[in-house]
């Protein structure tokens, strides 16, 4: 019986595979399409940073694996957290990233994003897409997206701006807060900052 079920499942899944493969795009395609859409959002709403933030967040959310990002930022402490703590930490970290980075996007109104190269990561399920952001009259800024394949889809788990990685930038601070105040302490600190800023706007 068990064998029958696994046989059935295997063939059943095969039947779906072509669809899955057809709909999953390569990291490079994802970067090209989403950067084009994001730049358009910025151009259309360049007077309204909050709206930019909202629209861009909605556009990129399906492409980002915030849980994996938070896991890497929390480092070895992630495993000591309960699932509820992991969820809460992911939620607050995501809110903070969206709040601090996406509302600063309006200065990239006239930017152009060029994909420079795609590199294989440490394993076949990892890829890095390197882009250059060009603003008229400025030195280009390198912007790297690290992708990992989860299931059929590629998702971003880290972004580096000019070689400075989101994850690395938060790892030391997270570790020190967790050491002194525990994971709940970190969640509380992030939450209170998020709340303070949404109250002042």
């Amino acid at each position: 019986m068990q064998r029958f079920i696994s046989f059935f499942l295997a063939f059943g899944l095969c039947g779906f595979m072509p669809h899955v493969l057809a709909s999953s795009e390569t990291p490079e395609q994802l970067v090209r399409q989403s950067s084009r859409d994001v730049l358009e959002i910025i151009r259309k709403n360049d007077k309204d940073p909050l709206k930019v933030r909202e629209l861009v967040d909605a556009r990129v959310a399906p492409l980002v694996d915030y849980t994996h990002m938070t896991q890497l930022a929390a480092g070895r402490h992630w495993k000591t957290a309960t699932p509820e703590q992991q969820q809460a930490l992911t939620r607050e970290f995501r809110t903070m990233l969206v709040r601090t980075y996406l509302s600063a996007l309006t200065i990239y109104k006239n930017a152009q994003v060029d994909v420079k190269s795609v590199r294989a990561g440490n394993s076949p399920s990892e890829q890095d897409v390197r882009t250059e952001v060009n603003l008229p009259g400025e030195k280009p800024i390198t912007l790297d997206f690290s992708f990992e394949k989860s299931g059929a889809d590629w998702k971003v788990y880290d972004i580096s701006v000019g070689g400075v990685s989101f994850i690395n930038n938060h790892r030391n601070t997270f570790a020190s807060v967790i050491r002194s105040e525990g994971i709940d302490g970190l969640i509380k600190q992030l939450a209170s900052r998020n709340a303070a800023s949404s109250a002042s706007k």
Binding site: H68, Q71, L72, G75, R76, W78, K79, M96, R99, T100, Y101, S103, A104, I107, G137, K139, T142, G162, G163, V164, S165, N168, N169, R171, N172, T173, F174, A175, S176, V177, R179, S180, L186, Q189, L190, R193, S197
Partner: protein, 252 residues
């Protein structure tokens, strides 16, 4: 547990400050107070002045000032590129400086970029890094900001000789450095919001600075991310037991 005796002095050393640990920041207990001082100077004087500069000085003047100091950076970038055997970068840099210093009115106009001679990004700190000199300890310089021992070679050599030497009176020199500082600070204003949100601004600046320098030394192609944290292997995958033990001991 065999690592315990080894780690004990280190743990004691770090026990004074319940702060993030970073492989490149042995002087953290000295750096932090200096950072606090710099931050208060920034809040009281530098930041307000930079905001005024950014809001009230005409954009063309701001651009001219950026170009002027950028031209001096380009000038010092030439020997830095030569020291690394980057002949092409040195050539383009020379082209820029010659054009911008003459037709570009002493650097106020960046004609070089239109020609186009691409702007290079080299300095003496990177030149040393290219030849394998490690960054040394991270330093927080009063009235200035982040630096590493290796990278201090750049500002020091530029203090020893520079176009500034031809500005004679002391007032002129003070003016020169003041304008340079204000212009540089104004460029960093958009980052203030992010910094304010950081849980630990000192660590945020340090980790950003160190990663950025690491990236520049390898011209944007570092072999691996900078291993900054003492107790993290930088990976999410199950840490080997030995590492867990190490990290456990280091925790006060």
């Amino acid at each position: 547990m065999r690592v315990f005796p080894l780690l004990l002095p280190l743990a004691l050393l770090l026990a004074g400050c319940a702060t993030p640990q970073n492989n490149y920041d042995p002087l953290e207990s000295v750096n932090r107070p200096i950072y606090a001082f710099n931050d208060s100077v920034d809040k009281a004087v530098l930041r307000p002045v930079a905001q005024g500069w950014s809001n009230y000085v005409p954009g063309g003047v701001q651009q001219g000032v950026r170009n002027f100091f950028g031209n001096i950076d380009d000038l010092f970038g030439i020997p830095a590129a030569l020291l690394q055997g980057k002949w092409h970068a040195a050539g383009e840099g020379t082209g820029r400086v010659v054009l911008n210093s003459t037709f570009g009115l002493a650097g106020l106009i960046d004609i070089g970029s239109d020609v186009p001679f691409k702007k290079q990004d080299e300095d003496f700190g990177q030149a040393l890094g290219y030849w394998g000199v490690p960054s040394g300890p991270y330093l927080m310089i009063p009235f200035y900001g982040p630096m590493t021992l290796r990278d201090s070679v750049d500002p020091l050599s530029r203090l020893a000789w520079g176009p500034i030497d031809y500005i004679d009176p002391l007032a002129g020199q003070i003016g020169y450095y003041s304008v340079a500082m204000v212009s540089l600070r104004a460029e960093l204003l958009p980052l203030d919001a992010t910094l304010q949100d950081a849980l630990d601004p000192y660590a945020f600046i340090r980790d950003t600075y160190l990663q950025r320098r690491w990236f520049k030394v390898y011209d944007g192609e570092p072999p691996h991310p900078l291993p900054m944290a003492l107790d993290d292997d930088g990976d999410d995958d199950a840490a080997p037991p030995s590492e867990q033990a190490t990290a456990g001991t280091a925790t006060p």
